[in-house]
Symmetry: C2
Subunit: 330 residues, 2 copies
Amino acid sequence: MSQFDVLCIGNAIVDIIARCDEAFLVDNGIIKGAMNLIDAERAELLYSRMGPAIEASGGSAGNTAAGIASFGARAAYFGKVAKDHLGGVYAHDIRAQGVAFDSAPLDGGAPTARSMIFVTPDGERSMNTYLGASVELGPEDVEQDKVEAAKVTYFEGYLWDPPRAKEAIRLAAAQAHAAGREVAMTLSDPFCVDRYRGEFLELMRSGTVDIVFANESELKSLYETASFEAGLDAIRNDCRLAAVTRSEKGSIAVRGAETVEIAAAPVEAVVDTTGAGDLYAAGFLAGYTAGRGLADCGALGSLAAGLVIAQVGPRPRQNLRQEAEQAGLM
Amino acid sequence: MSQFDVLCIGNAIVDIIARCDEAFLVDNGIIKGAMNLIDAERAELLYSRMGPAIEASGGSAGNTAAGIASFGARAAYFGKVAKDHLGGVYAHDIRAQGVAFDSAPLDGGAPTARSMIFVTPDGERSMNTYLGASVELGPEDVEQDKVEAAKVTYFEGYLWDPPRAKEAIRLAAAQAHAAGREVAMTLSDPFCVDRYRGEFLELMRSGTVDIVFANESELKSLYETASFEAGLDAIRNDCRLAAVTRSEKGSIAVRGAETVEIAAAPVEAVVDTTGAGDLYAAGFLAGYTAGRGLADCGALGSLAAGLVIAQVGPRPRQNLRQEAEQAGLM
């Protein structure tokens, strides 16, 4: 028996979330719906212009780990925080969710990463991420025992932004495969895909990655196509399993010749889309590592994504296992 | 013309909010629905037992100031934070809301105050407050120009917990009255009332305080009575104007022989009651300083309280002026 269902690896980021109008994004040159990388100076400038905010632990793979644990599955996390207030908050929150988290914090140097997330009236989030200490994640942070003990090792495409995280991922993927485990990734963001298209395709085609999560715009960016169907055909051939989300249109999972369409969960009002893809992956992987079929995996993903977009913040406050049981999915 | 409608004075506190079940409160000796004062050691212990949390600027009078500004009225705030991360967050959030906040932060010594707020499934919040730097608020923090420029100076009963804040309040009240202004207070918490009953009654009966906000249990605690009506009769004689909230039963404002009953705003689901009383006071005072009648003041209070209890956190994310206009109240 594996000690962990899913090991997640990502940039450890605290979210600072505020609402804004559309004009604010334009006036400040923020690409809507995207993850905009910023430096310390711009972080200070944007914070000075930001409205009243709340702070919540985030980071794409961190949100996924928290979601997996909330489903009652066993999760671990690798990510680099600093020895500062936000780093303490980050470690508290992910451990309090039941996720095994033992990455050594960075002592001295950059502060814990933060992302200023502006949520427009339509619920869309636009992220402005200062990577801070998270860029120090490297191969020395790969805990081999946890990689070998996890059914799936899952990481963010965002990890291609810092300099040495990709070395950590290649090391972890090799360890996972040597132990007979699987490796999954999320494409993270269409602009991130654009920055690392060749490397992401190589990860998939070389078999370094078995399972890929993407949304529609990331898929189209990956294959530089305007056709969703063309993208789906391509990704079907490039990895063993792919799950592609399409917001209110639901999601599609493809595995070889198998294609499963999954409906989105009904949501009364979209408050804040932060974490939608992360929580879809959480539900999907919670189901997948429990040996469920693709339709069930997708339904669990839709459930979790539907809950997180109906609230402010990147991790649902509900117990996802209870929610899944009430919905008849577990 | 006054430069400010309301000057608010209170303990400057960042809220750390998590959900818990009823058993957690019992197991940890937390008085449900109350503000429990804790020291640094217990703060660390409770945090280690707390689930995943979000952080949001709070503090009773700080929430009221933010609410008043959100209604488009002009607010100022006195409160003591430390020169640390949370202090920076606190100052950012209240200024970003448009509140004038210039209290000098404490350099060295205790960290910024924080309150661990546990929200049970019924939406009730139980607070555990480590006062930290906020206890250093004293008469030297009273900015006389702001007191004189504010139509109403409003403060929390909670300020009787730290050692020298009451000196600041007596000084500010004298300055306010000398400038022809009014002074308001909230009774804050039934246990706080129990600690300082005599002093609170003296503030009212001496005319140091003109306007009192209370909820039903605070009113009963103040007069040591089980009868709401007896409490209402008593407070009518002890201050010029009182507004008493009764949760879903609405509120009652009394001024001399005048009595106005105000309905609660309809709320679909109570998510987190944190800030309910603070936001009621915000709406009431926004109306009062605009010269509105008691029924209108109460309706604005009910509106703001209804919005804040339907979300997590102590300050509504909506623009309260827009909400009031949509509701036909402004």
